[in-house]
Subunit: 250 residues, 2 copies
């Protein structure tokens, strides 16, 4: 489902995600953000606070996709290595950005120490991403957007990033819910429709497994042509109805 | 923090994660599961229902890590392509596994149709992973463990996987909480300690940003030598105390 729509990747950075200490929620936030802009999120990677791994992942992703969004590792402590790694990946210096210095001086006053100065460093050629929550900015360099890991700050940074992105045609989705019917019973008609409509995607997601409540399957038709999505959803309802399966539009 | 402990990677499979429809929770479950076994989770990737991408990611990960855990894409519908892709990645056939056929026949009786038969296919040389929730098994081939995407089923499958894994020395962690103190104030002493203890990892995680409640920083010392972790945590408490910063052990 790519058409000429922009593609994107997400790079989640931080030992705390891989150790299980922290459950990432940023990927889902970014995924929904990009969906709304018609940008196709193609893949995501999670890496630890290890420079080689981070640089290799970033270089692989930025070469392959129109946009890369990173989260995490831009604070003041020694384990915040994202800016250093991004500069190295791009082969540029990492000077203090005067606007970032001004923002942080304003926030911290006489507590603007050496550790906090680290947060003013931006790879040469980069521009700031505003942080209305705690001021310390993220930055954009080339097609890479470097954002905080704290979800509230990351979400606020996305607002500043949005106007910089080329958008694509929105992906339309219709969800059909079949209650009391397993995936195995709808698989054949679903596959037939998928075969016949190569420009649409058809997903099947069971729910209620092994619980006492209702079980069934959600069927999702997605595509950039709203009329085609609607027509395929209608066809699915019809063909399931012919097999005695009742469908609810969600 | 690798020592001779086994390493692992996670591969999350499914368009629904990348579209934002579903928020993945399996990565955190697996991360905590592996931590408890002393296995180092080194990276995670999320890919869509695209064979080339899935096969490339799987081959990259299984060549680099002791274990790979995949979630998603093993149901009965056309978009469940994981078994096909794993077989192709390993260069082996994908026959029906007799034990899987027996399990599914028992479950579905005369409703064991062609779509459901797809769930009995296991790459040649693979062994089954039990699914006590909905019966349809996952499988292991080589160092790759292929599990369901539905969290409840994935969690149950991990129970069957655990005894097959070589474990490592447990990673011990101490968390120190400093209230009312930002990361920038603890960064210098933390960096000094990190410099002095290369066999430990020191993480810094701010909390309460921009909220009306308390704000502060959690400092986490991690390592396989419990005494060294304890000693470093004590040293951190002392050095912060000398700077007038009070620490709570969490």
């Amino acid at each position: 489902m790519s058409d000429a729509s922009p593609t994107a990747a997400v790079l989640i950075i931080g030992d705390e995600i891989l150790s299980g200490r922290t459950a990432d929620t940023n990927l889902n936030t970014i995924a929904r953000f990009l969906s709304a802009l018609g940008i196709d999120l193609m893949e995501a990677r999670t890496v630890g606070d290890r420079p080689r791994q981070l640089i290799e992942a970033l270089n692989a992703l930025r070469a392959t996709h129109d946009y890369v969004f990173t989260t995490g590792g831009i604070g003041p402590t020694h384990d915040d290595i994202t800016a250093d790694c991004v500069a190295e990946a791009f082969g540029v210096a990492l000077p203090e950005h005067p606007d970032a210095v001004a923002i942080l001086e304003r926030r911290y006053g006489d507590q603007f120490n050496a550790a906090r100065r680290r947060m003013a460093r931006v790879p040469e050629g980069g521009t700031l991403i505003a942080n209305p929550v705690t001021d310390a900015p993220g930055f954009q360099i080339g097609n890479v957007f470097v954002m905080a890991g704290v979800p509230k700050i990351m979400q606020a940074m996305l607002e500043d990033v949005a106007p910089r992105l080329r958008t694509g045609a929105i992906v339309h989705a219709r969800t059909l819910k079949v209650v009391g019917v397993g995936e195995g019973e709808v698989a054949a008609p679903l596959a037939e429709l998928a075969q016949a409509h190569r420009n649409l995607s058809f997903g099947s997601y069971p729910f209620g497994h092994g619980t006492v409540g209702e079980m069934g399957t959600n069927l999702v038709v997605r595509g950039r042509d709203a009329q085609a999505v609607q027509a395929a959803a209608d066809a699915l309802i019809t063909t399931l109805g012919e097999r005695g399966i009742n469908v609810t539009l969600v």
